[in-house]
Amino acid sequence: MKKRLVLFFALVLALVTGFTAMTTTTANAATDTSLSKVQKKGTLVMGTSPDYPPYEFQATVHGKTKIVGMDVAVGEKIAKDMGVKLVVKSMSFDSLLVALQTGKVDMVISGMNPTPARRKNVDFTHTYYQGGYSIVINKSDKGIYKNKDSFVNKTIGAQTGSTMYNESKKQTSGTTVKGMTSVSDLILALQSHKIQGVAMEKPSAQAYVANNKELAAIPSDFNLSASDTSASVAFKKGSTALVAAANKSVDQIKKQNLVNKTYLPAAGKYLKTNTVNTSMFHYWKAFLTGIEYTLIITVCSVFFGFIIGVILALARMSQGGAIKTGLRWLATAYVEFIRGTPMMVQVMFVYFGLGLIVNLPALTSGIIAISLNSGAYVAEYIRGGINSVDDGQTEAARSLGMSSGKTMRFVVLPQALKNIWPSLGNEFITLIKDSSIVSIIGVSELIFQSNIVRSDTYRGVAPIAVIMVLYFILTFTASRILNYFERRMQHD
């Protein structure tokens, strides 16, 4: 099974829990208003990581991609019983619990095991499904591998941060356990013989085997407690009223055996329609959405990054009194800090960290984070560009009576811009590629979309090849356009 936060996210989580601890304890003292809040806004936002069929995955329904699966059915039932509308938000599995704690989502249903470690941070409902583990292998290896103990001196793969990953490590000896973020990557690694088996939940294993004739499933024979194989709905710590309401639905689901009777068969149907046509062309709409978001993020970030860059560059170059010295110091510190921390961490910090104060959508957060990041780099280019303009230009402008601001705006900056145009062009092209980082907070740009297509089609390489070509078309077009403007600026 999946889940338990990866070490990598531990810092963000620790920070977030630190903040929320202060706010939630006071909230708990008062009456719990979590249910009435949800009913008041009329929607119940469910967070899920749709790369885990048949729990949750994306399917094309009437030409539109939507998230389906048994977990979505569970979510719909809970929302319906509360009398509100279900909104499904997709993001990477690692981000789900943070999103829950920062209020980005109201609940998480993503095949999540209610482990004791997780219970410390969130509240779980009763379990709605009791699963088990299988190991998926290549059909050609059937007979070589029987269960978890057959992989001595071999490699098993499991989703990073998941229960399976930890149990595979604990309960095997002489076996290497390889972790990857998405199950579709693991299947790809399996088919290219980088690993010999993939540990995953039984329903998922069945789905993969049913959809890919090259694969087979064997029992895992892991020794597991019930909490490691069951799935529950997670709510923010302290939302007693919501949990109680959801438990009513979950109990009904269990009592009527809805998962096995209705939800799983329905999900299976989507899986079938999903795999009827796995040609990349069939998914052109998904890729188009990816291009659209990649471009939105890039263009917005270039625009705001440039403005931030100009302001930072001017602040860094300001001379004079205490205020200006302070400004210069601040700008320098900012540039150094941004350049000294990974963009991925900045993206997560803006989405989750800033999310404690204002609830920003993922796309906005991504644009903010990338603009802030790009601004630091652009500032350095601009500073270099301004320094490259001859002092005589400034003197000529000042001698004509132009203020320092007008001199900068009408004389120095246009020339600086021309000098640094190639560097800015590089930054633009880098941003097209770097925008892929926001896939971790669930913005449907190209990388994110390709992952979805990969888990939908069970094809590992083709979507990667497609986005590779798409990225190249984007960057190549961009560099042609930039060259055109560069030529137009050549006067001397």
């Binding site: 001859d390 003197e395 000042r398 001698s399 009576g401 007008k406 246009p414």
Partner: protein
């Protein structure tokens, strides 16, 4: 008696420990053409640049039209700079703009003159410096002499009361010096107040009202060109004149 347009009182300027200007007190009357000559490194350019505060004086004062520049705020200094055109040794034309745009920029952005009026005025000035056929050229395509004439036209576009020339012909090929000096002479004939730092002794002799001889951070001698070139008073000036070909 007319009021002086520029008055310099006990002006001094240090760059670190290097005292470039030591103690200068002089004045310029409206309509006067002052030519500042002297050996290189004597502080001539620094002196000129102190007049419009491109260099901030270390001590002393510079009065323009009765206002002490060193005590004014930046905004007022900017306003007064409009009235002091400056021409540089290296032209300092804006390379990303055409000749016409170079001239129009400051009138439009500083004085807020509309495009049509600024264009009309720019063409007039280009005719004055004999370059109207180059209005749409970029500076990189101009010869040094042409570029410097455009720079003069650009400074004149702000309708200044005074023109400051900082070695305007020093960067030019010899055959181009004449065309620039001619423009300057015409300007002097029209009654423009001018302070010219130059090594062109012929120009000093024929155009200057006063010659200021500057060396070692002081104005050593302030005289009419006839008196200065015919009968220099100080030993420093005699020494300087004996070393240059007349």
């Amino acid at each position: 008696m007319t009021k002086p347009i520029i008055e310099v009182k006990n002006l001094a300027k240090n760059f670190g420990k290097n005292e470039v200007l030591k103690d200068i007190t002089e004045q310029v009357d409206p309509g006067q053409v002052i030519v500042v000559i002297g050996p290189s490194g004597g502080g001539k350019s620094t002196f000129l640049r102190c007049l419009n505060l491109l260099e901030t004086p270390t001590s002393g004062e510079v009065d323009f039209d009765g206002e002490n520049l060193t005590t004014l705020d930046t905004k007022r200094v900017n306003e007064l700079r409009e009235e002091m055109g400056m021409v540089f040794q290296g032209f300092n034309l804006f390379p990303n703009m055409t000749v016409l745009e170079n001239i129009k920029l400051a009138p439009m952005k500083v004085k807020g003159i509309d495009d049509a009026a600024a264009t009309k005025r720019a063409h007039e000035l280009l005719k004055q410096v004999n370059l109207d056929d180059h209005a749409d050229a970029f500076p990189s395509s101009l010869s040094g002499g042409q570029a410097q004439r455009v720079a003069i036209a650009r400074a004149l576009a702000m309708d200044p009361k005074v023109m400051l020339f900082d070695e305007p012909t020093s960067a030019l090929d010899p055959e181009m010096v004449g065309e620039v000096l001619n423009v300057m002479q015409e300007l002097a004939n029209q009654g423009m107040t001018m302070v010219v730092v130059t090594h062109e002794m012929g120009f000093a002799k024929s155009v200057a009202d006063r010659v200021w001889f500057m060396a070692d951070g002081y104005i050593q001698e302030n005289n009419t060109p006839e008196a200065f070139f015919g009968n220099p008073q100080t030993e420093r000036a005699q020494d300087f004149l004996s070393k240059i070909l007349m």
